[in-house]
Subunit: 143 residues, 2 copies
Amino acid sequence: MPGFILEDFLAYQMAVLSNRLSDGFSRRYRDKFGISVPEWRLVAHLSQAAKISIREVYQQVEMDKSMASRAAARLVKAGYVSKRVNPADRRLVELSLTAKGRAMAAEIGPQALDFEAEVLACLPDGERDAFRKAIRILMEKCT
Amino acid sequence: MPGFILEDFLAYQMAVLSNRLSDGFSRRYRDKFGISVPEWRLVAHLSQAAKISIREVYQQVEMDKSMASRAAARLVKAGYVSKRVNPADRRLVELSLTAKGRAMAAEIGPQALDFEAEVLACLPDGERDAFRKAIRILMEKCT
DNA sequence: TTGACCCCGTTGCAAGTGCAACAATATGAT
DNA sequence: ATCATATTGTTGCACTTGCAACGGGGTCAA
């Protein structure tokens, strides 16, 4: 494999960086609220839309069906989310945040923005926007 | 959680993008060679250094100890890697590519570079270098 | 040489993950 | 009304993963 260096390989770099970011941020809420990364993602999505179904969760947030189902179950058990059957279509489920869930979201949200700002602070001033835009382009490209 | 949008959250974007890149590339060698992502990483690292130990694998490549051990075991079983005890220090293991392993590496390496080039092709010409540099900076920052 | 200590790789175990099968429900054509 | 088909969420299962414990080696001082 001539001239190939794993450390310079984009897919590898992204995997490493992604893990460090997710782990780094999850440490900030894991101990206090006892939720994992998939659970945090569900809550984050749920905080933008009063009532959503499991399907909306795993389609919009990148997540397997069963992962969304189990994350929801854990959040219900922990008292952050309530779940009821949608009366209009009884196949669907209506997930919504409880008061406890809203309180948690209200605390984690600003921490998320702080964390992101801390990370991005190490990029040169003029390049932050270009970097964010590049990420967006790549995400659309790789759909 | 006012004004927080998960889709715009860097850690989330990186996780999604990282998965898409790793999956996208792994599809190109999985069927033909039957190896997984951790195994590919071990091989990639091994192709730059004739003989390495398990420890060198998991320290240099971002990987758990047990993951490196098991990836090596699977690669040995598949005939891509040979493993023997280091006679100078019998705690250590010497991993090296077999002829079959070298052949695989010789085929996957160029494919990796092609894949990366395809992905990066969608970024504006002047911004590719800046993007790669930004990734490097963030990786060092988040160590 | 012995014993205390450290390092390496493997393995057991619990938790997480992806996939496929499943039951319950809805839809639509006949 | 009935039956075939599609959709939703859950669950079973095999596999992966991370952590901690372990056994086998090495090292160094007493």
